[in-house]
């Protein structure tokens, strides 16, 4: 699955590993977040990253956003080796929860991210208003985020990820805790982004959603690439759920629920 970083690659992990070291009272403990991941995501595709909790999905995303540094190997995004501040202008990131500053209004929040994303001052205000309208928050643009509901915050988070029209959109568990209507809208948004030629990286637990929107997927288990599949494969002989269940092993120390 790994391929050279070329014009067709949006993201390339080359033997990327991450070991977390914690030191307490002189005792050092190590946890493997990611173990030599080799993976390529092509431009223009919707790529699903599947795995259990602690499988390495968020670590992989943090490596490519430059929030973590790889212990081994390297990661390239849109042709540039990360961490690289410049490439962040071409990426939109929507995390699992809306990590926004609740003291700001919707407009102030989006204006901040528009400025950080280098949108020229002359078009910034119009773009902010347009994006808030697009995510259905036009009526609440001047309300403080502290007054937003969970669903509204999730939309404000999506707005900051899309305000600068990024080439690569990374969504980490974007549908967790959303109602069915909101899930349907996120699904439509992902397909709309694909239609505009964007690359979407969609990390989720939800197999049924992933199989509806993704072109290819990778299943991570214990920080390793357990399996990679194309749409044709899971629509053919092997269902995605069965492939997932046979590929992953629990690493969180929790046993199965016994039904006897």
């Amino acid at each position: 699955m790994p391929g050279p970083a070329d014009a067709a690659s949006a993201v390339v992990f080359r033997g990327a590993g991450k070991v977390y070291r914690r030191s307490h009272l002189g005792r050092v403990t190590e946890t493997v977040g990611l173990a030599g991941l080799n993976l390529e995501i092509r431009r223009g595709e919707v790529f699903g990253l599947l795995g259990l909790n602690g499988s390495g999905k968020t670590t992989a995303i943090k490596l490519l956003m430059g929030l973590h540094l790889p212990t081994t190997g390297d990661v390239s995004v849109l042709g540039r080796r990360v961490p690289d501040v410049e490439v962040l202008a071409r990426i939109g990131y929507a995390p699992e929860a809306a990590y926004l500053n609740r003291a700001l209004t919707g407009r102030e929040n989006l204006r901040l991210f528009a400025t950080l994303s280098r949108i020229p001052g002359a078009e910034r205000e119009a773009r902010v208003a347009r994006m808030m309208d697009r995510v259905g928050l036009g009526h609440a643009i001047d309300k403080r985020l502290a007054e937003y509901s969970k669903g509204m915050l999730q939309r404000a988070s999506l707005a900051q990820a899309l305000i600068h029209d990024p080439e690569l959109v990374i969504m980490d568990e974007p549908i967790t805790g959303l109602d069915p209507l909101a899930i349907k809208e996120v699904r439509a948004l992902i397909l709309w982004l694909k239609g505009k030629g964007k690359t979407v990286l969609f990390a989720s637990h939800d197999i049924s959603e992933v199989e509806k929107v993704c072109d290819r997927i990778a299943i991570l288990s214990g920080g390793r690439l357990a399996r990679a599949m194309t749409q044709d494969e899971w629509r053919g002989k092997d269902s995605l759920e069965a492939a997932f269940a046979s590929s992953v092993t629990r690493t969180d120390g929790v046993g199965e629920i016994r039904l006897d």
Binding site: K62, V85, L104, S157
Partner: protein
């Protein structure tokens, strides 16, 4: 520059909407109590007491505010994970840190300026503070606040525990008023190790002797050169603390 300004703007807004107005209310309480005590004294004593009490209250409230706010400044954003979203945009970590620090300093400075205006008007009403000495005294307090803000930021990033950073900042603030005594002890010490340690500590901790306008006035040293040296000290100390903070922050993973 635009990214620093964007971070500065939201930091200032955040502080104004959250906490900074509390310092004004506290100052009003101190002034009210001081005024009640002062009204029992003679005219000349009343002005002197009100002047000293007010300036001391402005400085203390400013220092408490800046230590509290800067210690929480980054740690709170890490805890709430708001820093995730900021740093996944094209902004250098040094710019983020500088914008946050300057925004906080501006918020505390605005609070101190508001308190200073009320206090100055009250003192003027009673016939005191007619010359420019009030502005100089206020500026010296702000200089101390700026230095303590930069130091607290560095401590918060180095120690990671908010309580430890605040306790250590208060300890260094107290120590900063005794740098001359530390150097005196270093000169008198027969042990070269103690001498070296005391000299090093006296230079590393903030030296608040640079902001003692009253002593400088009594010694006849008060001049534009003295003020420029104090301002340079503030800039130099803050720059050193911020440079070290950036070094620590660049290594952090979120």
């Amino acid at each position: 520059m635009e990214t620093i300004k964007a971070v500065f703007d939201y930091t200032l807004r955040e502080h104004i909407r959250h906490k900074v107005w509390l310092s004004g209310a506290l100052f009003g309480l101190v002034l009210l109590t001081g005024g009640l005590v002062a009204s029992a004294l003679a005219q000349e004593e009343r002005v002197r007491m009100l002047l000293d009490l007010g300036l001391a209250a402005i400085e203390t409230i400013g220092l408490v505010s800046v230590v509290f706010l800067t210690v929480h400044l980054i740690l709170q954003e890490i805890e709430s994970r708001a820093v995730f979203l900021i740093l996944t945009h094209p902004i250098r970590r040094s710019h983020y840190l500088l914008g946050r620090f300057l925004g906080t300093l501006a918020a505390v400075g605005a609070g101190m300026a508001a308190m200073g205006l009320v206090h100055w008007a009250l003192v003027r009403l009673l016939g005191g503070a007619g010359d420019g000495s009030y502005l100089l005294a206020w500026s010296c307090s702000f200089g101390k606040v700026a230095v303590m803000g930069a130091l607290s930021l560095l401590l918060s990033l180095t120690l990671t525990s908010e309580a430890a950073a605040m306790a250590f900042a208060v300890f260094l603030w107290v120590l900063g008023h005794f740098t001359a005594e530390m150097r005196f002890l270093a000169e008198r010490s027969g042990n070269p190790l103690t001498r070296a340690a005391l000299t090093a500590i006296s230079h590393a901790v903030p030296d608040f002797a640079h902001f003692n306008a009253r002593d400088a006035w009594h010694a006849g040293d008060l001049s534009v050169g003295w003020a420029a040296a104090a301002a340079l000290y503030v800039l130099g100390y803050c720059a050193a603390c911020l440079a070290l903070s950036v070094q620590v922050f660049e290594q952090k993973e979120f």
